[in-house]
């Protein structure tokens, strides 16, 4: 069985994201980019399945700018066997929307005859949480989202899902799309020898038009704003004063 793992190049989670002065988006200049952390978890899970003999090949796919090659090299260093870059834009600020990504992934999944897709539940840049679900719908496959445990056995996947108020265990038929939650695993470090080997692994470059998919955004961004700055707190002298302030100043009592 082949596993397809989509990976997205996003602003690194350690970077303090800033809104551009003209409020059209966020600042990308001089900003460190990395693999979406949920996608790292997806790569790790796929590689573990391969190591456990449950899969034959792990294919990492990224849709975006040419530089997403670096993100794919990271996936290869973690243990993916080959990578496919689908160049869909040359502007780092253009976010390819989930439906377009799902259509492109569908084409890859079909061309590779994959039996499982493991993807991050959402990307930390736009937080849409939609690509996995849309892909499952387009493929007509089962889906198991927000996985914190994944067992693959006898043509089925048992997925423990993190849902509001607890855990839900579902069993889905393969082929399926699984989306990863934070606690599914702890991704490995890419070791130096594996980074060196990754440079020699195959990386195919395609373009969105090769698949006949229109990636023009359907949404338009009206404006992007910073969250309001937090106001300084006050230290109250007594419980009575606190109650008074909550009632009369904050109006929450």
């Amino acid at each position: 069985m082949k596993i397809v793992v989509p990976v997205k190049r996003v602003i690194d989670f350690n970077v303090r994201v800033r809104v551009k002065p003209d409020q059209t988006g966020v600042e990308f200049a001089n900003v460190k980019m990395s693999m979406n952390p949920f996608d790292e978890i997806a790569v790790e899970e796929a590689v573990r399945l391969k190591e456990a003999g449950k899969a034959d090949e792990v294919i990492a796919v990224s849709v975006g700018v040419k530089k997403a090659e670096d993100t794919l090299r990271t996936a290869l260093a973690m243990g993916a066997d080959k990578a496919i870059l689908i160049e869909a834009t040359d502007d780092v600020e253009t976010d390819i929307e989930p439906l377009a990504v799902a259509k492109l992934l569908k084409a890859v999944v079909e061309a590779e005859d994959a039996g499982l897709v493991i993807c991050g539940k959402q990307a930390i840049d736009n937080d849409v949480n939609g690509t996995g679900q849309m892909l499952a719908a387009l493929l007509g496959w089962s889906q198991g989202t927000f996985a914190n445990t994944l067992k693959v056995e006898d043509g089925k996947a048992e997925v423990t899902r993190e849902v509001d108020g607890g855990l839900q265990i579902v069993s889905v038929k393969l082929p399926a799309v699984i989306t990863t939650d934070l606690r599914l695993n702890e991704p490995r470090y890419a070791s130096l020898p594996n980074i060196m080997k990754a440079k020699k692994k195959p990386l195919e470059v395609k373009s969105a038009s090769d698949f006949g998919v229109d990636v023009t955004p359907r949404l338009s961004v009206v404006s992007v704003n910073e969250p309001p700055a937090r106001k300084a707190g006050v230290i109250v002298g007594s419980p009575a004063e606190l109650a008074d302030k909550l009632k009369n100043e904050a109006g929450v009592l």
């Binding site: 690194d12 350690n14 970077v15 303090r16 200049a29 001089n30 460190k32 130096l192």
Partner: protein, 552 residues
């Protein structure tokens, strides 16, 4: 702990640190040796540039020698210095120093305002195009010594140790990278360089190295306050209140960005000095505030620089390798520049290495490099200004700097220094005075507009360390901070650290306790330098951790 089994990999040259020195060495090696020389560069930052912090006004002489057509190749060096101001500040006022009084070597004519982080990213691209293998996120954490006692290589890429130092579930032992020669370009007070200097006695015949702590912020300012190409250097307030030496800078870079910073000499005596707070109040000076007002602080960081100059330069060669850039200590203090020398030193080392390898040598001393450093552009740059820092330390700011100016003018006009060579008497740790002899400094509270508290600012350095990794700040004796440093020096670590790593807090038993918040560390190395008991050793944490500087 047992030494884990590690794979080994051989290169002709292993370079530690993808800064201006290391990358220049790598590029020069490939220019001279081509495909016959295998070269790798290790960088502990998550990407090249992530740990680079520099002013910076770049004298392009190093780059001119390395890549003469850098302009055509799209180097991010475009803001030529147009205006060069030198101000002596009082608390509210200023006095401009007329240009004709300034020794010519201090002129910034022909220099550029740059982000060295971006320059290094560009240099890395040039190096990779030549076939250099660069590994960001890979820290060189230990030396590999040969049986003959020389340096053979370094351990790189060890990941996943747990808090107690034992291998965790995702442990990667890393590998031994072995080179015919190993070049150490870790910057000021590198952790491997420190061991090499001690092991080989490299500093036996040189003065103690002196350091400054540079604290820098990038501000995006209102377009009407922005004058690309304007360079302002300041002396005086806030540091002339008698407690520390140093100076400030304000560089108008591109895209409405201004680089503002303060370098505080770490030989200050008053243990109550807080370089961080000095920097914060510096921004409130009318000359600085008028530029920043209405702007926004977009990045923060700090790094020490080596300021000892020619007298403090250790022996730069040892069997199997060499120190390059600020690992040796090549900053020209009055010119406030070191990047050009870092590049020259990298090139000189590369030339010596290529010659040695072509002659079939390996693992020996690169005498040619030491010679080139002394006789070449680096020696010519550093020797004439060698007395500036000692005069400054001895006679204080006004008299010391005036004498230094006289010394530099003589060097310029008559090619001789009237003071001969003055020596540095103490290292920075020894310079620290006792708390009882000094007054506490009452620093103003940050206003949240121009000045900020430390933890807020550290968030703008993008700093992160793995929660589970062992602390990389090692105390030789864990009792000293509370038993010695607190009563005698009011534990200055609480103040000299620009990232708030060290705190003295009340323990559960009501007694003071020393806490190390290693996760905040911005890798400046001030603690390793300034701790009066020399009890803190900065070791390299797991690769990829530390700050994630943008265009610092």
């Amino acid at each position: 702990m047992d030494t884990p089994e590690r794979e080994s990999m051989d290169y002709d040259v292993v370079i530690v640190g993808a800064g201006p020195a290391g990358l220049s060495a790598a590029i020069r090696l490939k220019q001279l040796g081509g495909d016959d020389l295998s070269v790798c560069v290790l960088e502990k930052g998550a990407e090249v540039g992530a740990h680079i912090l520099s002013g910076a006004v770049l004298d392009p002489s190093g780059l001119d020698a390395l890549i003469p057509d850098w302009r055509e190749k799209g180097a991010p060096i475009t803001t030529e210095v147009k205006e060069d101001k030198f101000l002596v500040l009082s608390e509210k006022g200023k006095m401009g120093l007329p240009t004709f009084l300034m020794p010519p070597l201090m002129s910034n004519h022909g220099a550029y305002i740059v982000s060295m982080g971006n320059v290094c990213r560009w240099l890395a691209e040039q190096a990779e195009a030549l076939g250099v293998e660069i590994f960001p996120g890979m820290a060189a954490s230990a030396l590999v010594m040969g049986e003959d006692g020389g340096l053979k290589g370094v351990v790189a890429g060890e990941f996943g140790l747990s808090k107690d130092g034992t291998p965790g579930p995702n442990y990667e032992p890393g590998i031994n990278l072995i080179g015919k020669y190993v070049l150490i370009g870790e910057g000021a007070r590198g952790s491997l360089a420190k061991q090499l200097i001690a092991n080989f006695g490299l500093a036996a015949d040189s003065d103690p190295q002196k350091f400054g702590l540079g604290i820098k912020e990038i501000w995006r300012v209102k377009p009407e306050n922005h004058h690309p190409g304007r360079v302002v250097h300041t002396m005086g307030w806030p540091l002339n209140t008698g407690d520390a030496g140093g100076g400030g800078f304000l560089y108008h870079a591109e895209n409405n960005e201004v680089y503002v910073g303060l370098v505080v000499h770490l030989d200050y005596k008053n243990p109550y000095v807080s370089p961080y707070q000095e920097m914060q109040r510096y921004k409130h000076h009318p000359e600085i505030a008028k530029v920043l007002e209405g702007g926004e602080r977009v990045a923060y960081g700090a790094r020490t620089i080596a300021q000892g100059g020619w007298q403090a330069l250790p022996k730069v060669i040892f069997p199997g390798g060499a120190l390059i850039g600020c690992s040796a200590g090549l900053v020209n203090v009055p010119r406030i520049k070191g990047n050009h020398n870092a590049m020259h030193s990298g090139m000189a080392a590369a030339e010596a290495v290529t010659e040695a390898i072509k002659a079939g040598r390996s693992g020996d001393e690169l005498a040619v490099y030491a010679q080139k450093l002394a006789d070449g552009p680096v020696g010519r740059d550093l020797k004439p200004v060698r007395n500036v820092k000692p005069l400054w330390s001895r006679f204080g700011e006004i008299a010391g700097v005036a004498l230094a100016g006289f010394d530099m003018w003589c060097a310029n006009l008559f090619k001789f220094n009237p003071f001969g060579t003055l020596h540095h008497l103490k290292n920075d740790a020894q310079s620290t005075g006792k708390a009882a002899d000094y007054k506490k400094i009452d620093y103003p509270k940050p206003d949240g507009v121009l000045s900020f508290d430390r933890s807020t600012n550290v968030a703008f350095s993008g700093t992160n360390h793995d929660e589970d990794e062992p602390t990389h700040l090692k105390l030789t004796d864990p009792l000293i901070p509370i038993a010695v440093n607190l009563p005698e020096y009011d534990e200055p670590a609480q103040r000299y650290c620009p990232a708030g790593v060290y705190e003295v807090i009340e323990g559960e038993d009501g007694k003071p306790r020393f806490q190390i918040n290693g996760q905040n560390c911005v890798h400046c190395k001030a603690c390793d330098i300034k701790d009066p008991s020399q009890n803190i050793t900065w070791t390299v944490p797991q690769g990829g951790s530390g700050p994630t500087y943008p265009n610092m």
